[in-house]
Assembly symmetry: D4
């Protein structure tokens, strides 16, 4: 029985004055919106209530947030983890898994239901590995099976063709590329699945820390391509999970 | 029997030299990739082989392309239509439907299968109407049912809440906004569905023809949001259809 | 009796030649403009004659400026304090208060008059804390009571609603946000008070060190919002004090 | 008696089931937020429920919006009015006032209460006149008395000094400037009142349609200065009214 | 016998004083550098002394320049020709050839020697046609045979593969693309010839009038690619001719 | 006898109270700064009190300003003149001189004193002519003799060398260039005179309306070069006159 | 005998069913495209199969890649080498050559055929040395003879003239410049050979890490100039080798 | 007797064949241009042949350059000196003067002639000190007397007025400012002397490392102002010397 229902029952039973009920409903309503409708829904559907973005946090803050979420009985994920925070988690959270090349740490208490379809993570070059792994491990954390197709950039486009079968078998594709960011356009022209493009800050000079790749992906001549922020592997993995569970 | 099979049969039968077979296979392979695998697939899955982007074409070029695609027995869609091209199509293509406020024209020969789930198109203000309609009509052209939730921008965020039920009932959401482009962040925090954000070039001064909205959407603090090019209503509608059919 | 009056009295008494008086008046006039009209006014109204911006100063320079202003009997405030300068001040100025997370140090000799109305400081996320505290402590330094409403960003907009009463009770609001900087738009649509928006350099990729937030705030679809420089918590606190004392 | 109170009374009286009450409360709550709390408040406090931004609207759309707001018994204001829309309003709305140089039209049904203090509008050059008048007339529309101090840019800073008395007599100042946008810094250093800086798109070359002025104002070395969007005279006038009524 | 030799002979013969010779040599040297070494060389090697860039010239100025160069017995080429200038040339220069879609006019008096190898001009889409034709006709004007491979953009990369043989048969390739500008990367990975990339201003939104394509080409992950200015078809054709004649 | 002296005399004579004298002095001081010191000085030294920048003015406003300045007995100059304003001036101001290619009109009542030394105006190409003439005619308006050295851009640097003698004979040089803006660097390396560089908005694509030239000039590897705004021929001519009169 | 030929022989001999052959051909075809056609061609023509871009790799990764390529019997080149990687290579690869100022290491097993013509590498200043040496050593690694013409920037353009003979003797020119990047324009106007311009990130302030030079080179008024990415010495050397071998 | 004259004498005397003379003249001519005309002129007129820009040089390279120039008997100046280079110079060059806050070192062998007029160096704030001193010491190195007017920024414009007399006594003014860079506009409106504006990279957020100040100075509403690169104190001092010596 919800809080709102309880209040109404009390009003009906004459145990609560109308004026007092109005104040209580106002408070409960917010809690309702806050906790139940939105956060609880998020928890039940995606398997975790919140993710810890560690970049602007001290190791202690990361640890505290990790313990808090874990303590609520949730699977817990921390991204953009600095080495010090990583060590602290390893030291203090039993059973935590740290993936340094993806700057990720996580601990699962329950295994999320695994969708039948797969998510593909494709990279242009080995330099995009870190962002790609952030995306892949995020998707796996939420219970998906991930197909990795790495180092198939457009300067050697034949490499992509030899992997076309596995690419086409996925339900949604994450394409990670730096420099000119052309790979999502090529992939988008070869499949009929949603393509999530992730520009990376890899490259020098006119790459401008990912701007060249970002603009290239936004202006892609292929339909079915959408873009997330530069280096935002987590966002891509999170979105791919949403789509894969539809 | 495929071309490749025929060649091999001829080799087996000794009617074709190995050298000549190698040349023929190379040619056939390309045709295979070109026509069958990719283009035919596109046709069968999305309901249309190609879309006419009219912005850089003369009215005559648009008409010609329209007739060509239609002549192949396909449903046909033209976007970014200038008034002259629109008039020419109305004059020459019987049964064409023109939607001036979306700058779109289309003609359907067959009705695509209609998915059970809906696509939501949400706008921040009335100025975003044209781009939003481009997205909505594109999605409808591909056979989807579209829920329109217009003029619910963040400066009056209560308007959004009163429409939350219909928004949450959709399988995928297109959120169209200019100026600061904040609406996708708010929507993304209220739903657990994929959000396709479309920045528009609406606004003046520091809006910089959509750059402010674009950056705002890319850096959205809500997960589950991805972005297409500025004013790219078609791209959003196309992608939403892909996702809605998964 | 002012210097100008003294000179004129001397002229009247015949103790000073007209020519010499003209030279003296020219000199005094500058001092008048310089010290009395402007600086003295500033002192009397805001409670401090000048603030020390420490970012480009050595610890010694900061200390010297601090002692100088304090020595004139003024309440003294230093912002953007590096740790070394902070330590030096703690070591050398008795009774100085250092707030590391806001990079601020101050010492009050007299308590400024406290306005009856409050200033609200609202943040989108915990990463904006440092800038928000710079704003809040500045406002407090000038004698205001500050209401802190932290971590109510638009990706979970319900958090904002549950704090609406306290927000609406303030006379002027400072809204601090990084990434897409959408919070001032939402707040501006819910209140009829001036909103001072502070973009922060929090975020990565297309956040471009605060440019995304800055553009988002400048193009806000809500009226009543104005913007200060990226990370300029001091400027927002100073302005809020001016408005709160009107 | 509010809707919420009525529902609770019905629950208490046993006339309404708890389940039905929960649905009704949810609906009422939204309506409450939507209509009463926010929009009605806006109307009562600022004297107008909404302003028509005409730039992206056809003359007919502007007319229709004007009639709608006016029909609700409200004072009505339209900004960024194109000549055709202006003519249509003059032709169809009796008693409408059009100010072509400010691209504004308005009609007042009731005169808003006039604050005792004044708002100052200061411009650097005659080229900033249009934006300055948009600000000034907006402030006057909301019932304020405006002091205009025009053409006192920093290249002849003495002009500013001769008007200092009237400038200092205002409660809040709007400073409008294009090109290098230096005037707000100079004014901000001479007064202890809030300064709202409006960059204009006046200038050529490296003025970049107002970017130079915008950056200059954001990085102003004077405290107490905040900035609105380029050419946003309305926003400045609206905010000045908010502050002047505190 | 050169001018310098003549002066020296006169000095030797005692007909010219050393002092006078020094002045004369100084003057001649400049003429030598100016006319002979550089301009004459240009004429003899490339087949034309100068090209008329018409964009900032009136039709009369274009005509005058055309007649002047032609009058010196040179093959003459004008680029970026506006329709009025085109009509004037057609009216006044007998035998002039105008190519409206490339905005080019030319007249050849002598046919340049034709290199045995070909130049390839490849485009991503039909919208790049105008710039591609400017490049192709420029190359042809200088006597080269051009292979046109149009509309083979990366969103349908199989189209490119079916034309690979002709592409690989060329000695130098011009690749013209707008939007994300990814085609040169793909081509550069398939050939071992110099690739001259030409970004076009085709596209909308984040294409930023060719900036996206330009950055994409500059950061190409394929080696052997260099870039000319946005829409600079002439520059690409000119350079390709230089390379094809090596 | 100055106003200040008069007041002091009156104080001495006991005709004026000290209090009243203080108010009067404050007023007089401002007038002194305003009219005499600054404006009169400007008039006497540069030969004109003010210049009319016509770009944002109507023809009537230009005419009125022209008549006002002329009526005060001053030589009068209007820049950035649109054709309509030009015609109006020709029609109404007897003896006005209009130079359409420089968008300038002027009338001299008295001939300014002519310095013995000359000002050089150098351009890279014929497209820079308009800005160069604005600079040259401005310099001539103020009484200087101008040496024009046009069309000597760096792509044919020998043209510059043949004019080196006249260039070196000038006291100050204005160098006007668009596109890559390299000419001031070359000139700056050949002379020991101040070089005023004027970037022009000539060029396409990556010229970005003069940004390429502006950046090139600011980063010039030659010393002695300073830069004015894009297309600011007037500013260069004005500054050159200042320097030539030192 | 190729794999494809073997399969066909087996089909002819009846040893392989047509169905099985079709599967095998599909697989082989990819390998064919991948290994033979493209990579083998690259090897045979340019003398190396791949180059190691070291910037985003650990010393161990660089070493491993180096050994792999070398182990296949290829000449091996690593660019953008950090000191640690350099030391590791020197320690572990016998006979490796490290060039610290060019951040390059290489080892040749066979000496590539040396073209008769030379490649010129020209720099504006000594600060461009590192990028220029990356270009020069790359060109030499591929077997070319390189003429170095260093420190001949446009601020002392006479230095360039004294080296003109050697410059004109080269078949293709690499011109390296930072700051305003004007040197390629001047060189391009003096020769009739392809000029590859390399902007460097040398300079401060408005040089913007090479943007000024990049824009200057893209908008060069000289024909025959194309541009590679900022600081991309390797790319220029690679392209020059391609051209020199045509 | 010049080299050219010697050759001609030898030709006249029959000691040198005309052919050989032509080759020798060509070589000599370059030397003439190179050494005599330009470099010698620079030396004689400005008092130093070249200045060492140390930012991209190792301490050893700086030392070597210093010794070389000094060894030729010239006054020697090094700018942008890092501490290590500074120490090395102090250790190895007897009598060298190092000014750490200006990052400058110099040694004078002869004192340049001192012009009668002075150069003014004005700064907005204490943070601009380093750049201002670079300018001032450069000007002094070339023999000028410098008036320093520091910390008179526009937020307290009265400070500027009290120093107006000394400012107006200078022949040329260098105005150094960061943040909004408004000071040159104010100064330019108060004097009739050339103003050289130096933007500094001081400031945060929207100051964008000097871009705000740079744009503000370029678009200054005051005439007589020109701009050098961000932080380019040397360039301003060098140019001021050129002007002061005219």
């Amino acid at each position: 029985m919800s809080d709102l229902e309880q209040i109404l029952q009390q009003v009906r039973a004459g145990k609560l004055a109308v004026d007092d009920a109005m104040v209580q409903i106002s408070e409960v309503q917010h809690q309702t919106i806050e906790s139940t409708t939105i956060d609880h829904a998020r928890e039940q559907r995606t398997g975790t209530p919140e993710v810890i973005y560690s970049e602007y946090k001290t190791p202690q803050q990361v640890l505290k947030a990790f313990e808090l979420i874990l303590g609520n009985g949730n699977n817990t994920l921390a991204t953009r983890l600095q080495p010090e925070a990583s060590e602290l988690l390893l030291d203090r959270i039993e059973g935590v898994v740290c993936v340094p090349e993806a700057q990720i740490a996580y601990k699962k208490l329950t295994e999320p239901e695994c969708p039948a379809t797969h998510i593909g993570v494709i990279t242009a070059g080995t330099s995009d590995l870190s962002v790609a792994e952030e995306a892949a491990i995020t998707a796996e954390f939420y219970g998906n099976i991930v197909e990795r197709v790495f180092d198939v950039g457009v300067a050697g486009v034949h490499r992509l063709f030899s992997r076309l079968e596995v690419i086409r078998s996925c339900r949604v594709l994450i394409v990670v590329a730096g420099m000119e960011g052309a790979l999502p356009s090529v992939v988008g022209g070869l499949v009929d699945k949603p393509v999530i493009a992730v520009p990376t800050s890899v490259g020098y000079g006119a790459a401008f820390q990912g701007i060249a790749a970002l603009l290239g992906m936004l202006t892609s001549c292929a339909s079915g391509v959408s873009v997330v922020n530069i280096d935002n592997g987590f966002g891509a993995g999170f979105l791919a999970n949403l789509i894969n569970r539809l």
